[in-house]
């Protein structure tokens, strides 16, 4: 990479929520803790039937409160947590100040949001559940995941030409 780290961060932040520039460099095995959180998270996904195609269909037909309850209570806990972290200036376990990048509005959130919504209701799955569904033995969902990767790649290819 020839780019300096500021330019690189700017690029990574394009159309992304979850980029954080930690100044710390850690050995690869520090990432095992994210693997552990991922495993717990995946178990919740399966046990609460969030990865169920049927639950997603119910949600979009207003036939069940389940998914609204899950997302609503998750957001409520998230809001309280982020508020507490900001209020008490909490630091990460490595002593870094916690930084959450604000999000700028662009038209992608509308066009992309609608397109993703269409895909969410067909596949019954957003990106996270794709990984969990494969884990539960639905091997054909690997095709859906590869197609999602192809979709992301295609977006990257045409990004400059799309309205933002």
């Amino acid at each position: 990479m020839i780019q300096n780290s500021d330019a690189d961060l700017k690029l990574r932040e394009l159309d992304a929520m979850c980029v954080n520039e930690s100044k710390l460099t850690h050995k690869w095995y520090y990432n095992v803790k994210y693997l552990a959180v991922g495993i717990l998270f995946g178990i919740v996904f399966v046990k609460a039937e969030i990865i169920s195609w049927f639950r997603i269909q119910e949600m979009f037909r207003l036939q069940s409160f389940h998914m609204y309850g899950v997302i609503g209570s998750a957001v409520l806990i998230g809001i309280i947590s982020v508020w507490l972290i900001k209020k008490f200036n909490l630091k990460s376990i490595y002593g870094e100040p916690i930084v959450i990048a604000p999000k700028k509005f662009d038209k992608g959130q509308i066009y992309g949001g609608l397109l993703f919504g269409l895909g969410w209701a067909i596949t019954g799955s957003c990106p996270g559940p794709l990984f969990a569904q494969i884990g539960t033995g639905a091997t054909v969902v690997i095709v859906t995941l590869l197609s999602a990767i192809a979709g992301t790649w295609t977006y990257g290819y045409f990004r400059e030409k799309l309205p933002h």
Partner: protein
């Protein structure tokens, strides 16, 4: 206890646990919760093809790939050790509608009547698996996040763009589920 865990978890248990992922990731490494970016990192690491959008130091975001690998393993653990022995309990109205499309098996998270390898090679399977997946990957990146990045992380941080994105996810979903999917399922 194990019997209780094997039952489907109610929303008021699962929702708060998912919400807690937000502070946990922030506290253990200053990471904002998000999943769809993993698809971009896979592109950047495997097929960058000299596209500017994929020419970044993906290794700095490798935590996200560990996280989604964990979600996959979580699926493996849950289905093998904590599986609910009963079929998923679905709204009767939906059962009636889906039976009209030949969907009657409720034993798996995905409807195996339509999501299976042989169906992949039919027009219906092509729409559900290939077109559906493509829309998920293209749409989430264009929107700058998915259900986790926008609907959970973004709303937790009270971001208006994330609220707009979430509303658009729902509008797209309502249109697909009620107006377009019935046509695809009838193919």
């Amino acid at each position: 206890m194990l019997e209780l865990i094997k039952q489907p978890w109610p929303w008021y248990v699962a929702g708060p646990l998912i919400g807690l992922t937000v502070p946990v990731l922030l506290l253990i490494g200053n990471k904002s919760f998000g999943i769809s970016s993993s698809l971009r990192h896979i592109c950047a690491s495997c097929f960058p093809a000299n596209i500017p959008y994929f020419k970044y130091e993906w290794k700095k975001e490798v935590w996200n790939l560990f996280f989604v690998l964990g979600i996959f393993l979580g699926g493996v653990v849950a289905i093998n050790f904590l599986a609910n022995p009963n079929p998923v309990d679905v709204a009767p109205k939906l059962v009636k509608e889906l039976s009209g499309y030949g969907i009657t098996n409720y034993n798996n998270p995905v409807p195996t009547d339509i999501i299976n390898w042989p169906t992949l090679f039919t027009l219906k399977g092509f729409f559900i698996l290939v077109v559906g997946g493509f829309l998920v990957g293209f749409g989430t990146r264009y929107a700058g996040g998915c259900t986790s990045g926008h609907a959970i992380m973004g709303l937790s941080n009270l971001q208006l763009p994330s609220l707009i994105a979430t509303i658009c996810f729902m509008v797209g979903g309502f249109i697909m589920a009620n107006l377009i999917l019935p046509i695809i399922l009838s193919l």
